[in-house]
Amino acid sequence: MATVQDRKYVGQSVEKVDALERVTGRAQYGADLYMSGMLHAKALRSPYAHARIKNIDTSKAEQVEGVKAVITHKDLPVPSDTATSFGGELMIALKDLQRLTMAHDKALFDGHTVAVVAATSPDVAEQAASLIQVEYEPLPPVGDVVSAMDDSAALLHEDLFTKTLGDPPTKASNVATYLEDGRGDMEQAWKDSDVVVEDTYDTLMVHQGYLEPQACVARVDGDGTVNIWTSNQGTYNVQRQLSALLDLPQDKMIVTPMEIGGGFGGKIYTILEPLAILLSKKSGGAPVKMVMDRNEVFRGTGPGSPAHLTVKVGAKNDGTITGCYVRMVYDAGAFPGSPIAGATVVSFGPYKCENMRLEAYDVVTNKPRVQAYRAPGGTPVGFAVETVMDMVAEKVGMDPLQFRKHNAVVEGDLMTNNRPLNSIGLTEMLDEIEKHPCWTSTLEGPNRGRGLAIGFWLGATLTSSSVIMVHADGTVTVTTGQVDLTGIRTTMKQMTAEELQIPIEDVNVRVVDTNSAPYTDLSAGSRSTWTQSIAIQRAAESAISQMKAHAAEQLKVEPEDVEYADRRFWVREDPEQAMGWFDVARNSVRRGNGPVCGEGSVTRVQSAPTFGANVADVEVDPGTGKVKLLRYTCFQDVGCAINPVQVEGQIQGGAVQGIGWSLYEYYHYDEKGVMRNPSLLDYRMPTALDLPMIDTVLIEKPASEGPYGARGVGEVPIVPPPGAIANAIYQATGVRMNKLPMTPENVFWALKDNGNGK
């Protein structure tokens, strides 16, 4: 392995290999595929948040000229093995995925798919869908987690019983799971505290906001082979879900990845794919294209989970934290599976504390079933914990940064799950903040304030694999099933060139369909680059040893006697006896064991913990409550920035999503549970005009595992923003914010209710 100094490609900013395709408009996303005889599908969605479906009459729609197939839940096969769950980050049970795909006896949220039509044009499909008659019996909607837990709340699922370690419940409920964890002695902790701060926080549902609406094309061939082209974060993940959902063998389920226009965790479970397949089948095998519009993206996909949280923290007068408590109620939407596991890990992740208690509830409501959204579960709890920590620091009379330094975890300390941390760079990161002008400069002017927050994420691992083929001319193709979500083709190209010690121009990385490369899990959870670094290293080792065997045969020595570096193979005892990479490659296709093909896989490795921090300067307009960002700086321990420009881009993008979550974005539901703002005009995402430059500071403390010590970078950037902004608003106004988003209206009333601030 090359040392840091002599690395040639890893650590360099390399232009994305697919950049040219993207700036010229040639890159093909899900909706860009056209096939002859292709049909277009449109869904009919429930206008009710909660309603019993008494009857669906599709006869009028079927008579429309140009309509080729209409499906309802009756067309979905009954899955043979309902106990299976799917996920990646947020698990969903197969029986729930089935009822989510199309409403069965009940519509469970505004936007739930009830029926789908395939026709010769999108216009005809849409018009026919509107002719489908559905008889609904509206039921009282369950709007939020607090009312969902009330004894008088309507039940979404009569067969849902709370999973808990305690006695099995006898009554159905909207609480799917109750988890508790912790350590130490809480009573003693509160007794030992000189100060205790407790407060309650609420956040609302948000959307990942990927710019590309979900899109796919399905075609069922005569022999039953199902072809599906889709922009999803994982092709094998789609293959497994579809084959279970539709009862089809995996070898007959070919999933081809299209370019993906953003996912952020929101394109993991299948939504359109099973519908398009059923329609293709029913229409005799025609290709069926299904593309969502933005209204459907908001109402019919899986947004990010909102939460209701109570945090209590105690500390001694010297600033040492004595006890940490959190009660988290996360909203799963219509089916169980909110990100309580992630939230639990993130919560007090950055803080050293012997006494901890964590309680988490996974609760269903009449909203779309949530999906992951960057560091799933982390942002709401990060907001609550970082605000409380700021209050504790103030009470003990400590600067917020010194307070965090005083309590920061180091290698060997326990995480909230009571497992020890391996190598981390939190201390190094906090030291970096202390020196940085964003922290040391003075912020002048009225109604201005500076806030700090830190965040934690424990990278996901799962399975990754890649295959390296050496061609007869010495160039190399890497094939993988790893979907290119954030530039994996580019980083894999860098890593392959590094490991094989060949020029980067000689490496071509291809992301291929499920039937052309070995199993690989989805691209999510900050895992792809990190696990692929190990897979590539293993594949490269295998390719080089095969090359050595060929060289040994030619040089008439044993393979163990052959050395390799920089495209040259030589005999250890006699370095003059040597062969070039090119000659070995050319010979390999004709001699010995034949063509060189190295496979590398990784299944279980240790997670690489990641810490990030934000420093925000804001100005609050006391007349309107509008918050303006003046300066924004992100710090992150990335382990090793394999491609710094891409790493910075991930951090900036994540921070800005966090800023949107903090200041503007939310699902506005009316009392009937109907979403009132399903458009990009009314659901307000940050524009270029809302933001200052987002500065990034990369800290590189190598992770414990992996060839370069890289850590996943994509998730943690979204954790600190609300805490940093809320703490800055407090410095500016003297008022603490307990709700997201901190819209002008919310800030205005918070100021009013608190005597106009300081």
């Binding site: 232009e15 994305k16 395709e21 700036v23 010229t24 408009g25 996303y29 710019l211 900036q652 005009l689």
Partner: protein, 158 residues
């Protein structure tokens, strides 16, 4: 019903080429470009004029093609992302986006590049705030805009 409404003739220039065709009167320019001409570089992010992914240039003016009827282009000159490069030679805005890491998923990129081109043609030396205002109609969810702003500034500061 669509079958009873006649298609109407549309004549315009698209990326320097004369186009003559029949289109449905309610078809948007975006639909005409994508579904009829298969120029799929222009993207659909919202169909409501809110995201800018569908931006094309008509007679030098950036427009949301999802808010423009195909027939409105009659007699006009339309440029899409496919028509921006001169053969293999990229337009400076395309080049700048590539070199500065100004794209991640790339779905907003064609629209961003078209808006930027039209804006810079009129305001070759904008301040940062003018530039941010000029491209505020284009949403990007991946980059946080930072590298997009820097990419464009790299051209204007030349």
């Amino acid at each position: 019903m669509e079958q009873t409404i006649r298609k109407a003739p549309l004549q315009c220039r698209v990326n320097g080429q004369q186009v003559e065709m029949l289109v449905k009167p309610w078809q948007t320019l975006l639909e005409v470009l994508r579904d009829e001409l298969r120029l799929t570089g222009t993207k659909e992010g919202c169909s409501n004029g809110n995201c800018g992914a569908c931006t094309v240039i008509i007679d030098g003016q950036a427009v949301d093609s999802c808010l423009t009827l195909g027939l409105e282009a009659d007699g006009h000159e339309v440029t899409t992302i496919e028509g921006l490069a001169n053969g293999a030679e990229l337009h400076p805005v395309q080049q700048a986006f590539m070199e500065n890491g100004a794209l991640q998923c790339g779905f907003c990129t064609p629209g961003f590049i078209m808006s930027t081109k039209a804006f810079l043609d009129k305001h070759p030396k904008p301040t940062e705030t003018e530039l941010r205002t000029g491209i505020a109609g284009n949403l990007c969810r991946c980059t946080g805009y930072d590298k997009i702003i820097k990419a464009i500034m790299s051209i204007t500061e030349k």
